[in-house]
Symmetry: none
Subunit: 411 residues, 2 copies
């Protein structure tokens, strides 16, 4: 089953809101074997809506429209649909009665606009919307289906879950589809691709592999499509294992997991506590770690040692070390680790010092030179990064590398 | 200037990622008087990309494509573009040299895929991408423009800002348009609107006011469109002053300034130093402050005191205070301020302790209860927030309130 989603609303086209509805709808539709082939965003304008609808119906089974319904603006969308299907508008007594009941419950009185809202294209099958006043509308057109829903997320989600998806399931039987994602960190996209080239070329036609690069991380998404669900899952499992075995320690998790979540789980399982000592990342690594609910189980705190005095006084970095090697040096981050272990009484400490940019570099240590160290009472490991001049990017990339060091050190 | 955005990538159509690029692009384009009329998302598939491109060119001046470029998958998009424009592929020595330099700096060696990446459609004008290996491409087609950019947000944003927008501005000249934005913090959208209702209704037709609410902040954008540039600027100045005079201390800056930038400027001008003591925000406030280049001039550091032991040992919060009032209390944040002033030897310290959620609340102190305190050697001020259950939102909103406290305290 092929699906085209149309989202109606100027607020998307001027960038005032991000369209999160489409991604949610796509995930739900994938679960029943339906494939979203297009997403189109168009303005609250009659000609644009008609053009989008006509275009969508050229090559699809189902068109799902969100937005453009509601007490202040549903006229345009409903009028477009009625014109498109060449039908008139009829008054829905059922909708009117439901709106009156809703307002009674809210203890308020409806406006004239709410009565207007009860006029519907004559060929619409109304879909009950328990979350708002505007019902969904289901249209059959030749062998195609067009559905119109309000754009308010809770209303759209209610209609999808209880009205639209059950009907689509009954009507169309697609080949089941499944996605599995392997999450990697610490190696670039092209090197990951080279390492698994032979596995990729041996994939059966029922499986498809996609590389999705991010900052310091690459996700590998394997998609299966097969009428035999057992076989599909077997194939997916088999290839997921093959790829994981090949990529080994670069793999940190699956699907929608976040690196800081995985790090937290490892620390909690091992019963280890952590502290950070941050200079150039300025608390961003601590923020990533504490963005996970329950982080207080393993995270004790951080010293953001932005000035050299704080490095010395609180973390015990020696004046000679700073003088001889500088604040951005292997020697300094090693002493920061020792200092943080003592100060926080934690099992593992990680330290970062670098030149985040865009200025502040020297010929010896250009902008983007960043040192990391991690240690426990027995040992310390270090890592040097040589990044670019983008301060924000450098801070984020360094935090990802730091999280990965914690994962490998504690794991 | 009419614009059609095409985003390429299965990850959007299966709902794995939400398309945030388009909204960002739309906002930037609006600022130069360009209008996004359509956004289309399509899959990594040759026929689909060509269909989308052909369709887009039917009724637009500019097509901006994101996604489908990168070392493992740029073949399809570039091949589609070359086919579409009926040109061959040529090897770009310049791109190759740039990739080699990048890899040399990273201390790694490129793979064969990176060499493949240097082949470009013969009619492409290459746009320098300092954030990644794949350059942007600019095509002229009849009187229309097609631009292709990688989908990785930092790369797309760099290309838009430094290459695409300046070229579009030069090429298309509409009626002169100017935007001025007043930035406010600490008051909600509807209250701000009520305060300036009379000013808004007195605006001449050549000026338009938009309210852009954000987390704890509301931006007021005044847009002028007038063939008489002098008059436009005079009117803009006049109304900007009227609105500012009315909103007084809620106004913290203009245009694209960030609150943390303004805070940094005030501290630098006053010659004051700052430290933070953070519990529930976990270093996020320090991160916001240190995201600004040169923050080391006024920011000394932070103690992220996630555990109570750290609050006591490092910040000197008394055991009795924690026992009697709890870690989330006015008494605790006041002691954290005193502790941070002593520990960092700074002029101003700010402290935060709260229940970020989603769990951990009690009937007395529900999730979202957050205390802030700010002080110098002479005085301390406190603020209590009662927020919702969204951990991420609570952390970010609290940081904005904290920055605003610093602004008002130091200013």
């Amino acid at each position: 089953m092929k699906i085209h989603i149309i989202t109606i609303g100027d607020e998307i086209l001027i960038g005032q809101i991000v369209d999160t509805n489409s991604a949610w709808m796509a995930r739900q539709l994938n679960l029943i074997g339906a494939e979203v082939n297009w997403i189109t965003s168009t303005s609250d304008d009659e000609a644009a809506i008609k053009h989008a609808l006509g275009n969508a119906l050229l090559d699809t089974d189902v068109v799902l429209i969100t937005g453009g319904l509601g007490p202040t603006k549903d006229d345009i969308t409903k009028k477009c649909l009625a014109d498109f299907f060449e039908v008139g508008m009829v008054f829905s007594e059922e909708t009117h009665a439901r709106i009156l009941r809703l307002f009674e419950r809210w203890g308020r009185s409806p406006t004239p606009a709410h009565k207007e809202q009860c006029f519907m294209p004559a060929n619409a099958v109304l879909l009950k919307n328990k979350m708002g006043t505007a019902p969904g509308m289901w249209f059959e057109h030749n062998k195609q289906v067009v559905v119109s829903m309000p754009g308010v997320p809770v209303e759209m989600k209610y209609l999808m879950e209880f009205e639209v998806i059950p009907r689509l399931k009954e009507r169309f039987q697609g080949k089941p589809i499944a996605h599995r994602t392997i999450l990697t960190v610490g190696e670039g996209e092209s090197r990951i691709a080279a390492k698994i080239e032979d596995i990729e070329s041996s994939l059966p036609t029922s499986l498809k592999l996609a590389f999705l690069p991010g900052l310091g991380q690459v996700r590998l998404r394997l998609t299966g499509r097969n009428s035999d669900v057992l076989q599909m899952n077997r194939e997916l499992d088999d290839y997921i294992h093959q790829i994981q075995d090949r990529l080994k320690e670069f793999v940190f998790g699956h699907d929608t997991e976040r690196l800081e979540e995985v790090v937290g789980r490892i620390l909690r399982e091992r019963g280890l506590t952590l502290a950070t000592a941050e200079s150039c990342t300025g608390g961003y690594l601590a923020h990533r770690i504490t963005a996970i609910p329950g982080a207080s189980d393993y995270f004790l705190g951080s010293t953001v040692a932005y000035s050299n005095e704080v490095k010395q006084k609180q973390l015990g970095v020696k004046a000679e070390t700073l003088e001889k090697h500088g604040a951005v040096s292997e020697a300094t981050v090693k002493e920061m680790v020792r200092g943080a272990l003592a100060l926080f009484g934690c099992d593992i400490a990680i330290a970062i010092s670098g030149i985040a940019g865009p200025d502040g570099g020297t010929p010896d240590k250009p902008v983007g030179t960043i040192w990391l160290a991690i240690g426990n009472k027995d040992k310390t490991q270090t890592l040097k990064l040589q990044l670019g001049k983008d301060r924000k990017g450098n801070i984020k990339y360094t935090a990802v590398q730091g999280l990965n060091m914690i994962r490998l050190f504690a794991g």
